[in-house]
Structures are given as structure tokens and as C-alpha cells.
């Protein structure tokens, strides 16, 4: 390559990336999703939601394109390369569910320097130039205890099912639960690790049950409520109130019990559709609106009366989902200001 060609190329590169700073009207803007993993039902639902909302937004002329990319392996170096490719492809905004909060910082910074809006969600990035839509896992624990406190103001014994030991999410949810229990009349009499899997949870609960006094409630982390119900159902104990985590099998069991004996509980988790919230946040930033850098994901809670509708829209083996609209995103942004 000659010197002249290189200089011309450099100049072309600079002009391309300098024109992305114009604000307002996002109809010609292109948004890309950089996703690090697609191997479970939550991520599959996340990608489906992105596609659905993205296609609708393109059809409405809100944005020019909304493409989703998933790395072939769940590795930070792969994702960094993927993000650098997106910079080359000239996207105006990149929405990221990150493989690592730090290991793609360099690529994220390169994107910001090229004038690209970077919004991270669920797996957030630490690079300060990016927006972060984080999950408040402690709050997720607190909400469960608050619900149970409403149901049983006089208190009682609780069983806690934890997630995978040593994972940040597990520590956070559990910390929230224990923190809130201090403000209530409850006492946690047992704690087992269910690894967010129904079969593991069932075995763990069945193992600890004989040593427990009467329990009024079970606090969970999602993906473990059905297993707990199976374990407790196999004994002659009265069924405690098990907080569910929006999985289809959990909702189905709850619905069956509700029909049979009016069983009451609640269910909450993060909807995979949070990718669409990140999409609209990116659109809002591109639109020139002022958006705080740190936003919090709202929980998707299912109450006793919403159960049937939620169950109808949740495919087997999947998790209850909701797609966020532009208005929802504006509300989340407003609440964080």
C-alpha cells in the first residue's frame, strides 16, 4: 500500500467517524447488540425480544437498523474484537451484555472515542464513558422478604435457597434477604445451595427438610422454586409460601396449586426483555437527551391475579418476559435523574 493510499484511508476513516456526533432525529442511526452468550433460555428470550422490538423500531422509522451479534465463544477477548469490528462497521450505538466488567474496557473506550454511544446492561462494563443498566440484586432479595412480611406480619421461620456458591449474584441476593430479615419478625432457619437449577434445589431441600422446624416461607433466587415445591410436597408438611422466579415450570405449578387450593405467592425476576430497555436508552442518548450514566433495571413481578396472563405468554422451558417500550425507557430514565 502506498503512502498516499494510507493517508487517504486515514482521512476517510476520520471523516466517517467525525459525522456521528450530530444529535436529534435517530431515523438514520444504526444500533448494534454485542452479546457474549446465547446458550440458555434467558439469553434466547433476550435475543428474541431484541429482534422483535428492533424490527418494529426499524419499520416505524425510529432507527435505521438494530442488528444483534453474539460471539461464537463466551470469551472477553472475542467480544472485544467483536466490538472493534462494530466500530469499523460504523454503528452509531453499541448495546452490550458483557462477558467481563473490565476485560473489554479497551474496546469500549475505543468505541466512545470514535463517537459511538455505548450502553451496557445485565453484564455491565466499568469503563466510565459507557452507560450502565444494572440489576439491583440486593433489592431482589429485600422485595421477597417484604412480600412475606405482608403475608405473615407475626413472622415465622424461613428457608433460604441460594444460588451457585462464590458467584457475585448469589452473594448479593442473599445479602439483601438477610438485611431485610433483620427488620422483620422472620428467622432464617436453614440455607441450602440450589445452584439456580430445579433438580439441584429439590435434592438440597429434601436433604435439609427433616432437620427443620415448621417453615412459613421459602426465599429463593429464581430457577429453584419448583424444585423446592417438589421436595416439600413429597413430605407431609404444610406447603409454605415459596417465592417464585418467573420460570415457566414454577408458574405452572403455582397455577395448578392455585386452582386446587387457592395457593398464594408472588414471583419476581429480571425480564430478558431488558435488552429492549437498553435499546431504547441507546436511542434516547442518540436523540440527544440527557440520560444518567447509571440506571437500574426494574423487576418483572407477577402477582396472584396476573399469574394466568403471564403463564399464557411464557413458552415451556422459558421465563416470563416483557418487552419495554420507549415510554418505559423514558420512565426509567426519569426515575434515575
Amino acid at each position: 500500500m502506498t503512502l498516499k493510499a494510507i493517508m487517504l484511508g486515514a482521512a476517510a476513516g476520520i471523516t466517517v467517524f467525525a459525522t456521528t456526533n450530530v444529535v436529534a432525529d435517530t431515523s438514520d442511526k444504526r444500533i448494534a447488540l454485542s452479546n457474549n452468550y446465547a446458550g440458555n433460555s434467558w439469553r434466547q428470550a433476550m435475543l428474541e425480544s431484541w429482534q422483535k422490538v428492533g424490527e418494529a423500531a426499524v419499520a416505524d422509522g425510529k432507527v435505521a437498523s438494530a442488528d444483534a451479534f453474539t460471539t461464537s465463544e463466551n470469551q472477553a477477548t472475542e467480544q472485544a474484537a467483536q466490538i472493534q469490528n462494530m466500530i469499523l462497521q460504523g454503528y452509531d450505538a453499541i448495546v452490550i451484555n458483557a462477558a467481563s466488567p473490565t476485560a473489554i474496557n479497551g474496546a469500549v473506550k475505543a468505541a466512545c472515542d470514535a463517537g459511538i454511544t455505548v450502553v451496557s446492561f445485565d453484564g455491565i462494563v466499568q469503563e466510565p464513558c459507557a452507560w450502565r443498566i444494572a440489576v439491583d440484586f440486593q433489592q431482589m432479595g429485600r422485595e421477597q422478604v417484604k412480600y412475606l412480611a405482608e403475608r405473615y406480619p407475626e413472622g415465622g421461620n424461613l428457608l433460604e435457597i441460594r444460588g451457585l456458591a462464590g458467584v457475585f449474584v448469589d452473594d448479593e441476593i442473599s445479602a439483601g434477604i438477610h438485611d431485610e430479615v433483620k427488620n422483620s419478625n422472620f428467622e432464617i432457619v436453614g440455607s441450602v445451595h440450589g445452584d439456580w437449577a430445579q433438580d439441584v434445589a429439590q435434592k438440597a431441600v429434601a436433604g435439609i427438610l427433616p432437620s427443620l422446624p415448621e417453615i412459613v416461607g421459602v426465599v429463593t433466587q429464581g430457577g429453584d422454586g419448583y424444585g423446592a415445591a417438589q421436595a416439600i410436597g413429597a413430605t407431609d408438611r404444610a406447603m409454605p409460601t415459596i417465592v417464585m422466579g418467573n420460570r415457566q415450570d414454577e408458574l405452572q405449578w403455582w397455577s395448578d396449586e392455585k386452582a386446587a387450593n387457592g395457593y398464594e405467592t408472588t414471583s419476581l425476576s429480571i425480564a430478558p426483555g431488558v435488552s429492549t430497555l437498553a435499546f431504547w436508552v441507546a436511542q434516547q442518548v442518540l436523540d440527544g437527551n440527557e440520560v444518567p450514566k447509571d440506571l437500574t433495571v426494574p423487576f418483572l413481578a407477577i402477582s396472584q391475579d396476573e399469574l394466568e396472563d403471564a403463564l399464557k405468554t411464557t413458552p415451556k422451558g422459558s421465563v416470563a418476559n416483557v418487552e419495554y417500550s420507549l415510554e418505559d425507557a423514558k420512565a426509567v430514565i426519569a426515575s434515575s435523574k
Binding site: 476513516g13 451479534f69 472485544a80 474484537a81 473506550k109
Partner: protein, 308 residues
């Protein structure tokens, strides 16, 4: 010499073809800025590939290079950043550990594949101990070096060239390199000629450790922070890079230029597939297909060469 040239022709050709395809798909890549984005993550891969090449040179294989690079990245982002003296001492100790492993493998006649597989868990564990949750920070000079704006040609192109040249002179043009290649070629003969195989294997492993450390450091310079799992992919990438670059598993037949070009080709292949908008489910398979294609073409070349 001409055999070496022919050996190198194919990797160069694959790189040029891929580069042409990428430029066609994404003309924006044809710029200073674009080339840098396309290739800067190939620098640590190239260094890791050189490290793997040192091991393959003596007929062994290193399954721990991915976790070793991750470990070095964690040390760089923590100790080297906070207390440089201790940091560099740890890295030096890591190189020494590699050399000792080489000596141990030679002394006890252990299979390297098993020893390095075991070591991969040790390095991985140490990385988690040093950096239990992702974080740390890159030393300022390293960040500056990796984002250096070199004149005319971006650092992402300059660095691999410099690496390849330096290693070429070390391995192909110095007496040390010739002897080390001899270990891979015929270690008995080397021993009879009066060389200590323990020392030679230790030196090859020590060199591998050195380039592993450099890979970890350059990776942190690029990412600006570390993660205990940051470079797990490098184990397979580095082996594929060496072979793609014209190296062979036995006989001490390796090529530093080829290894670096192999690393660049693998990095580029991933970008190419991503620009093609190929579904991720197919991408790993397609990457493998590119690899098999290049190796198949090489086999045809070598057969023809043998006939002629």
C-alpha cells in the same frame, strides 16, 4: 532455505486473501484507524503463539498458555500497577517456573501435555487468587505503548512485524536458536554432541514463559484491566497459529514469521466471519473449516514439492 520460503508462502497467501475479503466487505477497514482496530487484539495472540512455538520447537505442547497469559495479565493489572518491583519479581518468578517445568519434563521424562494441563489449573487458580473479581488497572506506560500512534502504519501492524523479526533473529539466525531447533529435530544427537538436554529444554520453556508474560502484559495494555479468565482461548488459538503458520508438531520445524502470520490470520478470520453476518452457531465451525482448508492446501503443496 527455499523450503522455508515455500513453507511461509501459504500462510502469507491466506492472510492476503482474507485481508482482501475483509476490505471488500468493509472498506472502512482500509485505513490507519481500521487496520489498528482489526489487528490490535492480534498482538497478544501473536506473542502467545510465539510462546507456544518455543514449546512445539522442542516437540512438546503447552496446554497451559491460556491460563498462564491470564495469570500474567492479572499480575500486570494488580502488582505491576501498584508495586512495580514486586510485580516484576512475580513475573520473573513465573518465567523461572516455566524453565523449571522444562527441566522437570526432561529429567523425569514426563509427557509435557500432562504436565502443562496440570499447570493450567495452577495458573488459573493463582489468577483467581490474585484477582478474585474482574478489575485492576493497566500500568500507564503500558497503556501508552499499546495505543501508540506510530507514523504511517498503525502499531497493530508494526508490533507483529517487530516481534516476528526479533524472534526470527533469535531462533533462525543465532546459535542458540539452531541448537534449540536441534532438540526438536533429534535430541539424542544433540546429547551425544555434548549438550545438556535439561538445560536446552529449560531454555526453550523459559523463552516460552517470557513470551507468555509479554502476551499477558500487552493484553492488559489493550484492555486496560484484567479478568482471571481473560485469555483462556489463547491455548487453542496459539497451537492453531503455529500450525497454520507452517510449523509442525515434530521435528523442530517452526517459523517465527509464519507463527505471527498465523495469529494474524486467525484473528482476521473471526472478523471476516463477523462481517459476513454469519450466525454465531456456525462461526466456530467456519473458523475450523478455514483452518482445515489452509492445512489441506499445504498438504497438496508439500506432496507436489516431494514429487518434483
Amino acid at each position: 532455505m527455499s523450503g522455508d520460503r515455500l513453507r511461509l508462502a501459504l500462510p502469507v497467501l491466506s492472510l492476503v486473501v482474507l485481508l482482501g475479503a475483509v476490505f471488500y466487505l468493509q472498506p472502512r477497514a482500509m485505513s490507519y484507524f481500521g487496520l489498528n482496530l482489526l489487528f490490535n487484539l492480534a498482538i497478544p495472540v501473536a506473542l502467545a503463539t510465539i510462546s507456544q512455538m518455543m514449546i512445539i520447537m522442542v516437540n512438546d505442547i503447552d496446554l497451559s498458555i491460556g491460563t498462564f497469559v491470564s495469570f500474567c495479565a492479572c499480575v500486570t493489572a494488580t502488582f505491576v500497577h501498584d508495586t512495580p518491583v514486586i510485580g516484576y519479581m512475580i513475573l520473573a518468578a513465573a518465567i523461572l517456573a516455566y524453565a523449571l517445568l522444562g527441566a522437570l519434563i526432561q529429567l523425569r521424562g514426563l509427557p509435557a501435555i500432562v504436565v502443562t494441563l496440570g499447570m493450567s489449573f495452577v495458573w488459573g487458580g493463582l489468577a483467581v487468587l490474585i484477582l478474585p473479581s474482574p478489575g485492576g488497572a493497566s500500568p500507564e506506560w503500558l497503556k501508552t505503548l499499546m495505543s501508540l500512534k506510530t507514523p504511517l502504519v498503525p502499531i497493530a501492524v508494526v508490533a507483529p512485524l517487530v516481534i516476528a523479526l526479533a524472534v526470527h533473529f533469535l531462533i533462525k539466525r543465532s546459535w542458540v536458536g539452531v541448537i534449540l531447533q536441534g532438540v526438536g529435530g533429534n535430541d539424542r544427537a544433540m546429547e551425544r554432541a555434548g549438550w545438556s538436554l535439561v538445560r536446552l529444554r529449560a531454555s526453550a520453556y523459559g523463552l516460552a514463559g517470557l513470551f507468555g508474560v509479554l502476551a499477558g502484559m500487552s493484553l492488559v495494555g489493550l484492555t486496560t484491566a484484567a479478568d482471571a479468565n481473560i485469555a483462556l482461548r489463547y491455548t487453542l488459538l496459539s497451537i492453531a497459529g503455529v500450525i497454520l503458520g507452517g510449523g509442525e508438531f515434530v521435528g523442530g520445524r517452526i517459523s517465527p514469521f509464519g507463527a505471527v502470520i498465523g495469529a494474524l490470520t486467525l484473528t482476521l478470520a473471526a472478523s471476516f466471519l463477523s462481517f459476513l453476518r454469519l450466525s454465531p452457531d456456525w462461526q466456530i465451525g467456519a473458523q475450523g473449516a478455514i483452518l482445515i482448508l489452509v492445512l489441506a492446501v499445504r498438504l497438496v503443496f508439500i506432496r507436489k514439492g516431494a514429487v518434483a
